[in-house]
Symmetry: C2
Subunit: 456 residues, 2 copies
């Protein structure tokens, strides 16, 4: 039976088109029905048109639907891919960086626990329980770790969070002169906090190769890459230092965020990531924003310009995203191995059962079955995994209790915070930020959070 695949937040056009491509190119998903849902009419129309035209180009047997109504989107869905976001919008994030910089925070890193996106995830999941309780929810929006854990705890849905950071292993391999195709690897942990426990090339341990590269070639590499532009975060001095500090190579988004001291200021970024400090700086992120705007313009052309054919622009090969192959595995028993975020239930030792871990899994008609991986070293657990687990628990408790003092606590615990007053002030500033259109679709943050009665 061909599934109905619903994409929530489908206006994220690049991502949605990737899904359409992958479905078109997956024989087993012939006849599928794709439902695009977004609150932004214009973006929704773009992706709908683009999907239709791309499908025409390939002569694929798919049907499409677009809607701004969540209930319509969810009813009858077999898979819901949630890529929607309230605050992970480049313009909003830029504004937030600017207003928090006035309080002395670099790059918007205040430590205030996430609210909007998590509340949205929860609202969607609760609606799914009503309208499509047997559907899978595949979470593509951040924060994946908190969101996957939250939805799995608060609903009876089948939940899986997905990310592509783990492909960082390919960059490690390529940089030290290995063909990624000949590499086998494993990097479990929590989302954005994964550590390469196994790294083989042709069945031989490749860690000694990495060590030799660090000892003999890294300095030259960093100089060379910095002179050309930027050093890839995956192979930056920060990543190598984390390897030394924690004992395993950090993969993907991990080296972007482990350790406040790498990310405290522009100077720290430049010191540890080289060049002008990489993408996670105001200047670097401005380039990301501009790149996304260009891409969006290109998408609009491909959608509406009769002279442009989408297939010429986007090609006809599968993306490397895992969503559609996972759907193919679940629907058609086309088994595959993937890197997923699912409730632990024993897969990674030392982590509670109801916490989402990122681990390899076999996917087939039986479901998404994680491998019970080797335990991570104590040091990684104590210095990387547990601190993140604790922050996640604090964030979810803040969300579910609506206790404003837990928001304040989160900011206080952030290493960039220098005083109680600074924390209290930046929190008020963030709470007072002008509402963006997506915020109208979740409860207002000022209404959701209140001081405990005892606050006086």
């Amino acid at each position: 039976m061909a599934p109905k695949v619903t994409i929530i937040g489908a206006g994220s056009v690049v991502f949605s088109l990737g899904l359409v491509k992958d479905i078109c190119l997956t024989p087993g998903l012939k006849g599928s029905h794709v439902c695009f849902m977004d609150i932004n009419d214009e973006r929704l129309d773009t992706v709908y048109r683009l999907g239709l035209r791309y499908c025409e180009d390939l002569g694929a047997d798919l049907t499409f639907e677009k809607t701004t109504d969540r209930e319509t989107a969810l009813k009858g869905a077999d898979f819901v891919i949630n890529t929607a976001t309230v605050t992970h919008d480049e313009h909003f994030m830029k504004l937030r960086r600017e207003v928090t910089a006035e309080h002395g925070y670099f790059y918007g890193r205040t430590g205030m626990p996430e609210y909007h996106n998590l509340q949205l995830f929860l609202d969607v999941a609760r609606d799914m329980e009503e309208f499509c309780p047997d559907a899978w929810i595949l979470l593509a929006g951040n924060p994946v770790f908190e969101g996957t854990t939250l939805m799995a705890r608060e609903t009876d849905l089948k939940v899986c969070g997905l990310c592509h950071g783990h492909y960082g292993y390919k960059q490690v391999a390529r940089t030290i002169g290995l063909d990624p195709e000949r590499v086998t690897w494993q990097a479990p942990g929590l989302n954005h906090n994964i550590w390469m426990t196994h790294f083989y090339c042709d069945g031989e341990d490749a860690y000694p190769r990495l060590d030799a590269w660090i000892a003999e070639e890294s300095e030259k590499y960093w100089e060379e890459m910095a002179s050309k532009g930027e050093i890839p975060t995956q192979m930056s001095l920060a990543a190598v230092h984390q390897y030394r500090m924690f004992g395993l190579m950090p993969i993907g988004d991990t080296p972007r965020r482990a350790g406040w001291w790498y990310n405290m200021s522009l100077e720290a970024r430049q010191q540890w990531y080289g060049g002008s400090g990489g993408n996670d700086t105001p200047e670097g992120r401005q380039k990301v924003l501009e790149g996304k705007e260009r891409k969006r313009q290109q998408m609009r052309e491909a959608a509406f310009d009769e002279k442009v054919r989408p297939v010429d622009m986007f090609g006809n090969t599968m993306t490397t995203e895992q969503h559609v192959p996972i759907i193919d595995g679940l629907v058609n028993d086309h088994e595959g191995q993937f890197q997923v975020n699912v409730p632990n239930n024993g897969a990674l030792a030392g982590v509670p059962d109801d916490v989402a871990v990122e681990v390899p899994a076999l996917v087939n008609r039986k479901g998404i079955q994680p491998l019970r991986v080797e335990p991570l070293p104590n040091k990684v657990m104590l210095e990387c995994i547990y601190p993140d687990w604790l922050r996640m628990e604090q964030t979810l408790e803040a969300l579910l209790s609506g206790d404003l003092s837990m928001m304040l606590f989160g900011i206080l615990e952030n290493h960039q915070t220098r005083s109680y007053e600074q924390a209290a002030q930046v929190m008020e500033t963030l709470l007072d930020m002008k509402r963006t259109p997506p915020m109208d679709h979740v409860e207002d943050i000022r209404e959701h959070y209140n001081w405990p009665e005892i606050w006086g």
Copy 2:
């Protein structure tokens, strides 16, 4: 059978004399043998003489022994009270405050994981396994939380950590106008991290009284106390703020240390603790040091001056320390209720079994049996208990692995640390501090800790 009670670090004269007093005044412990052990001959002699003379004053039936040899002290012991410390010496701590201040740290709070005292505890405990494996170890030296957990994990001894901070509930009661004798209470948690879950006066909930005092009388009280000298930490603005922030009143040493923002600088201390900032400031601690010196001089007089009788100086009533009543309970089945630190094993929900919790316990011939208390609120667990648990685990892993990078990590995680370089430098400074005599009795810190091989 009258027990042999060994006091390790007996040169801490005030504490040791208190134990002697309590044993003298406990009928069931008639005939006990008290063994004083210390590495400092002069202090050892002082306490030995003082013990003998005090015992004479009371006509008590006790025998005494003094030794600088640990094996002699431990052989045949039924109870070992360990009050020994390597670094909790006022002069050493003062020097450490001074050298770390040069690196920008206030009050020596660098976050470097404890080594010397823990290693000493472990060495003593391992010797006990050899020389008196059936004896109880009662830990009186800090850090009690880490030390109790460590000894309980690494040996098969019967381990109990003791502190007197929980008596802070009396100050809460008195300050708000209640007679402590009419108060019943409970404050479980981890040592120096305990939270008043129950507070009754004549069986009525006394929290509303506390709330009324905070609303109506606290400001006046703070003004008045500050004008007289210092505000007691237990009833300071910091303590009340922690009550608001975490939802339960912090007890004893808890309000001294919860929340970096109360303790970041002299100004923060003055803001939150009032007056000149209280004892946990360089100036305040200097007074503590001088008070201890005066006390020590007084002790020497009482020990050696024939015109002075110890009983005139120190009276003949029991102290409020729990050690001797606990021994009396264990030996003579004189049942009592105490606040102890023991491996959790289910007493406090949410904490692993092998972590030492501070909980009330019934003590009698059956042993030290903790009450399975009500769970602490989620917020206290997430913001106070788990962070401390995590730091304890990091400290013990650093100690047991000897991994120097874990020392560095501990300093980096401290909120006073502003940069990687600052952390690395202050660590070297601390590692290079001049050895004090007690340090000769544990492995040298530079030998114990090494960079991991991968550090390069």
